[in-house]
């Protein structure tokens, strides 16, 4: 498989120059997503502040503020001295807390809307992939399914699933669907890790996506679409249930 191509595509979206206001928030969001997606891996040193600021097209002050937000959330840590710099903190606890905060911060309607959008993008990508996928794409898809069915952890499962959904869009030969699939991965994929902590959800999604890839192999567009939509809907339901539990726990703590 070709992780580098996806890697690069994701990097390009995450590190695209910014020209909007709310820059600090946006820079922090991008870096946070890069960390939770594993594009910046645990322990990795971030580029120096001047270079990173230039890449985002923001002032060094804006970048410093964004890094400060990430430090407060425990996602990065900065050391001083000759060997100093800003490093990605070990993801486990800080990452889990950040993901739970993100999920709690979404309304149930937003989760449904994201799920609907994911179904539209990935579902139609799968339908087109069944007609248009190259032999190379089919091979890549089969390899990713192999990874998904053998992994027993939420994070690598989610990474493989993201790759599969992007590869399906790539196989559809549609640039807009591919861009939408990458964008979805950047903004929606991190919290999916929470849903995949549940082994039953992983099994269901792996089965559905395996059916989808099988259908792409046999040029059955409608089946491919249905299977992808079924997987996305299952994840959406699991996220709604988890969010509800998190909100109830918070309310309980308030009383």
């Amino acid at each position: 498989m070709e992780p580098d191509r996806l890697h690069t595509l994701t990097r390009r979206v995450l590190f695209a120059p910014l020209d909007e206001t709310r820059r600090t928030e946006t820079v922090a969001d991008r870096l946070r997503t890069a960390i939770t997606l594993g594009v910046l891996s645990s322990g990795e040193q971030l580029p120096n502040e001047v270079d990173l600021a230039r890449q985002f097209n923001v002032s060094p002050v804006t970048l410093r503020d964004a890094l400060q937000m990430l430090r407060e959330q425990g996602l990065v840590r900065t050391t001083r001295g000759r060997q100093g710099g800003t490093f990605v903190a070990p993801l486990q606890e800080a990452g889990q807390r950040y993901l739970e905060d993100s999920l709690r911060g979404l309304s149930s309607i937003e989760i449904r809307d994201l799920t609907d959008w994911a179904c539209a993008v990935s579902g139609h990508a799968a339908a087109l992939a069944a007609e248009r996928a190259s032999d190379h794409s089919r091979r890549v898809l089969a390899e990713i399914i192999q990874t998904m069915t053998t992994t027993s952890d939420a994070a690598p499962f989610r990474r493989a699933e993201s790759r599969l959904l992007i590869e399906l869009a790539v196989a559809s030969q549609s640039t807009r669907l591919s861009a939408a699939a990458v964008e979805l991965q950047v903004h929606f994929a991190p919290i999916k890790t929470l849903a995949y902590a549940e082994p039953a959800t992983r099994t269901l999604v792996a089965t559905c996506l395996s059916n989808a890839v099988g259908a792409v192999e046999k040029n059955k567009g409608l089946v491919a679409q249905q299977s992808v939509v079924e997987a996305a809907a299952a994840v959406g339901d699991e996220l709604l249930t988890l969010r509800n539990a998190l909100v109830l726990a918070t309310q309980g703590a308030d009383l």
């Binding site: 309304s107 149930s108 309607i109 989760i111 449904r112 709604l240 249930t241 509800n244 109830l248 309310q251």
Partner: protein, 246 residues
């Protein structure tokens, strides 16, 4: 079903009462605006002078409604009956909250425009006009107004037997429904649905506001059990039972 429906339990009755109260709180904020509108307009046909007078009279109270802490209301104002506005045509006075600021919103009220906001066909206008009672819509995408998932509460404005228009408020669905969901979460599972069994709010997380319950019933092999009517817009509170043939 008739036998079971008769034995609605006290918990259901209590929940419905609280839901009614939450909705009534919205209408209570609209009622003074309607009273002011009647006092200014009387039964005269709207002209520029009256329009300016109403603008002056409604601006501060509308701003106050929007400035209320934690209110789900994002927009509020008076919308005139098109038949009574004479040469002015469609006319409304509307204020919205946008971030921390409150400002007047101008809708496109020119019939020749593609983006003409034809409110006389909007459900919140028609239902208040013909039902003559307070009305609240289910969540809908307000493509000509707020562009987002909205609920609109409206009350008709009459002077004597003459219909002047409606006073209405847009609610941010997430905020208002969350308020209702918190009421529902205090006991066993109850879902509030509208007249066509679409979800308004539910303690069951996958039943998000706006979707019909039939897909959920099919997937989970359940049927509607107890049903208890709410006070407004033909909403009801329902419980689900396992399907007899599952």
């Amino acid at each position: 079903m008739s036998g079971r429906a008769a034995e609605v339990d006290q918990h259901m009755v209590d929940v419905v009462q609280e839901i009614n109260l939450a909705v009534a709180t919205i209408f209570d904020q609209l009622q003074p605006l309607a009273t002011t509108t009647v006092a200014v307009l009387g039964d005269h046909t709207l002209d520029d002078e009256l329009a300016n007078a109403l603008h002056r009279a409604l601006e501060q109270p509308c701003r106050d409604v929007l400035a209320t802490i934690d209110t789900p209301i994002t927009g509020v104002g008076f919308v005139a009956d098109i038949d009574r506005t004479g040469p002015i045509g469609a006319w409304m006075l509307w204020w919205i909250r946008s971030g921390a600021a409150i400002k007047q919103k101008q809708h496109v009220l020119n019939r020749e425009s593609d983006s003409f906001y034809d409110y006389s066909n909007a459900q919140w206008f028609r239902e208040a006009r013909h039902g003559t009672a307070p009305f609240i819509t289910s969540p809908y995408i307000d493509a000509w107004g707020t562009d987002s998932l909205t609920m609109t509460a409206s009350i008709p404005v009459f002077t004597g037997g003459t219909f002047l228009g409606v006073v209405a408020a847009d609610l941010k669905t997430e905020n208002f429904c969350d308020q209702l969901i918190r009421i529902l979460q205090r006991g066993e599972d109850i879902t509030i649905v509208d007249h066509e069994d679409r979800v308004i709010a539910s303690s069951i997380p996958v039943l998000t506001p706006g979707i019909p319950i039939r897909g959920f019933l099919r997937r989970s092999s359940q049927t509607v059990g107890d049903r208890h009517p709410c006070a407004y817009a033909e909403w009801s509170a329902v419980r689900f039972n396992p399907s007899p043939n599952s």
